[in-house]
């Protein structure tokens, strides 16, 4: 696998963007990414891939509306109905076939256009077996959080600490939508959504767009002084049935880590990884994902968090960007936000957030309720 990220472009992430349409957002991110990579989409880019879901956008067949603002008219364009990393790995596969040297990958969130977010999430539940629960669909997260905490003996307080840490990290991320100082107490006291999941355990929605330019090894060296290599990648979907799930283990995170780490030669995650961006749609997910990935043993993540191991200045910084909790929940684009942070860090361009000597980073994603689908990429500044 010799594919690198040679260009990045993005808007900042905001709670609402009433001034621009999603097309204008995408155009901004694309312009910047192509400038960064030094490529002309009309001439140099072979393929364009967007991660998008019809119901997040409110359009059926959303790919109809993507080519113009990406410079992709009458070019090879497709949508992956999945998260950003699934689109990224698709781009990598396309490059690896030899068919294209340069591929653009995009994802965005215009969550502020949705008036009935909960209704839309509910629409993903199985219509015959699960929708009739007529509850806020995050009951699924509530069930999982309870089972997870009871099995691992991690605590609600530790979950709340994830929120505190990530929002604090976001203070130094100029792109972040929800930086802030929030105490564990404030999180714990917030309104219950589905016990033990409280309102502040849930990442708030934000708008934003991100574009990456991928290149084959040959082109990467021509185009960029700091290509960031995809050293390992993996994606998997576990059972869609709520009824037959392991309610405490993030199996998808476990399996994708095994595969991606093997590809990248990571045998000791704690030592070999310089930073990790994991999905934190819900506070407890960060701990669950870290354990499943093998960063630590099951049940240990809460304690290590308390000891500061996952702080920015700790042994293994987790969600330095702020994650979904601090930077904002960008839906399918959040996994690209994780990748963006990794790339900035590995390039040495993370400003105040810079993790010293960052050479290897991981971005891990989860597609949210009601799925058991997740992906992972391992990125490195050396080939």
């Amino acid at each position: 696998m010799t594919v690198a990220i040679v260009g990045i472009g993005h808007t900042d992430f905001r709670s609402t963007t009433p001034d621009v349409s999603f097309k204008e957002q995408m155009f901004e991110a694309a312009m910047k990414a192509y400038q960064d990579a030094g490529v002309n989409p009309r001439k140099d880019i072979g393929s364009f891939i967007t991660a998008a879901e019809d119901y997040w956008e409110g359009y059926s067949i959303f790919d109809e509306f993507i080519p113009d603002q990406l410079g992709a008219v009458l070019r090879s364009v497709c949508t992956i109905s999945g998260d950003g990393i699934q689109a990224l790995v698709t781009g990598a596969m396309q490059v690896e076939t030899g068919l294209f040297d340069i591929v653009a990958v995009e994802a965005h969130s215009k969550a502020s256009d949705m008036l009935s977010f909960t209704g839309i999430v509910n629409h993903a539940l199985d219509p015959v077996y699960n929708r009739s629960m007529n509850a806020n669909p995050f009951f699924i997260a509530g069930l999982e959080m309870r089972k997870y905490l009871s099995e691992t003996k991690n605590t609600r307080e530790q979950c709340a600490q994830v929120v505190t840490k990530n929002k604090m990290n976001a203070l130094d991320n100029p792109l972040a939508a929800y930086p802030g100082v929030m105490s564990v107490d404030e999180v714990m006291k917030s309104k219950m959504i589905s016990d033990p999941l409280s309102m502040r355990d849930v990442s708030p929605l934000a708008d934003g767009a991100i574009v990456f330019v991928l290149a084959s090894e040959k082109k990467a060296k021509e185009l960029s002084n700091y290509p960031i290599w995809l050293k390992g990648m993996s994606w998997i979907s576990e059972t869609p049935w709520l009824e037959s799930r392991d309610w405490s283990d993030a199996l998808y995170a476990r399996k994708t880590a095994q595969k991606a780490f093997k590809m990248a030669g990571i045998t000791n995650p704690q030592k070999q990884l310089d930073l990790v961006e994991v999905d934190d749609w819900f506070s407890y997910k960060e701990l669950q994902h870290l354990e499943a990935m093998g960063v630590c043993e099951k049940g240990e993540a809460g304690k290590l968090l308390e000891q500061g191991k996952f702080n920015r200045d700790g042994d293994l910084p987790v969600n330095v960007s702020g994650g979904r909790l601090g930077a904002g929940n960008l839906l399918e684009a959040s996994s690209l936000q994780s990748v963006l942070e990794c790339v900035l860090q590995l390039r040495g361009h993370a400003g105040k957030r810079q993790v010293k000597d960052a050479r290897t980073a991981v971005a891990q994603s989860w597609r949210g309720v009601p799925t058991a689908t997740g992906s992972m990429v391992v990125l490195g500044s050396e080939k």
Binding site: E53, S60, L74, T97, G98, D126, S237
Partner: protein, 387 residues
């Protein structure tokens, strides 16, 4: 351009296509996938990756429907993605399967296309309300058939095409479909039947249109090494191409599907085809409407601009003609469960190139081209298959 490795198709499966099937989307996916695996004498455990092709979530009424369908498609515990290009998806999903294997990342890929249009009430048309730009178009309350009628009119007027020639496509395809076991609307009809059918959106008449359907199809893709283990008649994916035109379709001349031509050129280049009418044994262009088969024949560079109707009237595109078009019976005859319809064409190519198409067999089939189309008259997806 050097493609890393060759990809073969070694199995195919398909369900019945009907206006409404009893099976759920998961079950349809399962039936097609199982049939494909059985045909290749393979077990699901040997499948390393899965691609699902399925058109708008609004039909099934399930957001992120690919997640809901994945167990039926054999995706549980596997890398599973859903590439989506509207109506072009049926021929695009094998292309996605192709890059899974050609990239070297996987040796096998199961490609499933499923469509369940029947859940939407009162009619699948209702789901199409949401494909339009909400600001420039939706306030006009368009019906999907409008854009086809607009394109058909432009095409007919530019080349002075008599409606009779276009009607021949329905006669041919519905007739061809009589030999396809999955067929929903196979029938022996005449040109007059088409010309006398009720006008829906002029110039589109009832028998010009393919029906909404439920159905699923599947293909097994693998590397050359794996293919040699399972069969001595692999069918190769020798060319892939896809292209998406601007969403501002009212700023485009609809007389020629440029996006199909771009996709075809890309696929032909890879397949080393420089004289398509001579080097292609048969083609399965997307035919949701009669005129589209003709429009797409020209987009596929199999007919000169404006010439496809005449070729049809002269019988060249019959199964025993010089260039058989839609020997399967196409969407007009077999049915149109959007994504599954495109994959149905690829299954047809597979069976034709293995001499397993029975009564539908085209003699001496060496190279087949499949093409699908969709969105706001925007996307062309093309795959070239060879024995």
């Amino acid at each position: 351009m050097t493609i890393k490795r060759r990809v073969a198709v070694i199995g195919a499966g398909i369900t019945s296509f009907r206006r409404r099937l009893k099976e759920t989307g998961k079950e349809l996916s399962y039936h097609a996938a199982k049939m494909a695996l059985d045909s290749a004498e393979m077990n699901l455990s040997e499948i390393e990756s899965v691609v699902m092709g399925t058109a708008p979530d609004a039909f099934d009424g399930i957001h992120m429907k690919s997640e809901n369908l994945l167990d039926g498609a054999g995706g549980t515990g596997r890398p599973y993605t859903r590439p989506f290009v509207g109506g072009g998806t049926g021929v695009f999903s094998p292309i996605a399967g192709w890059w899974h294997v050609a990239s070297g990342l996987f040796d096998t890929c199961l490609v499933v296309a499923e469509e369940k249009m029947s859940p939407v009430q009162p009619h699948p048309q209702t789901a199409f309300r949401t494909i339009w730009d909400p600001i420039t178009t939706r306030p006009l309350n368009p019906n999907l058939v409008w854009i086809f009628a607009l394109e058909m009119n432009r095409y007919m007027k530019t080349y002075n095409i008599p409606k009779e020639h276009i009607a021949e496509v329905a006669v041919k395809n519905k007739g061809n479909a009589l030999d396809h076991p999955s067929a929903q609307l196979a029938a022996k009809i005449t040109v007059d039947d088409v010309l006398n059918s009720e006008t829906m959106v002029w110039p589109v008449q009832r028998l010009d249109i393919s029906p909404p359907s439920d159905g699923a199809a599947a293909l097994i893709l693998c590397s050359e090494e794996v293919a040699r283990k399972y069969t001595d008649a692999p069918v190769w994916i020798d060319g892939v191409g896809w292209s998406l035109d601007s969403s501002y379709w009212t700023n485009r001349d609809l007389v020629f599907p440029q996006y199909v031509a771009e996709a075809a050129k890309m696929a032909y280049k890879m397949a080393k085809i420089d004289d398509p009418p001579k080097q292609v044994s048969f083609a399965e262009p997307y035919d949701p409407f009669t005129y589209k088969e003709l429009h797409h024949m020209e987009g596929l560079l199999l007919a000169k601009k404006g010439e496809a109707p005449k070729m049809t009237a002269e019988g060249i595109t019959q199964r025993d003609g010089k260039l058989p078009i839609c020997p399967s019976g196409g969407l007009l005859g077999v049915g149109n469960p959007i994504a599954a319809a495109g994959l149905m064409k690829c299954c047809e190519a597979f069976w034709q190139l293995r001499n397993e198409a029975g009564k539908r067999q085209v003699d001496g089939a060496e190279t087949g081209v499949c093409q699908a189309w969709g969105d706001l008259m925007q996307v062309g997806t093309v795959t070239v298959f060879r024995r």
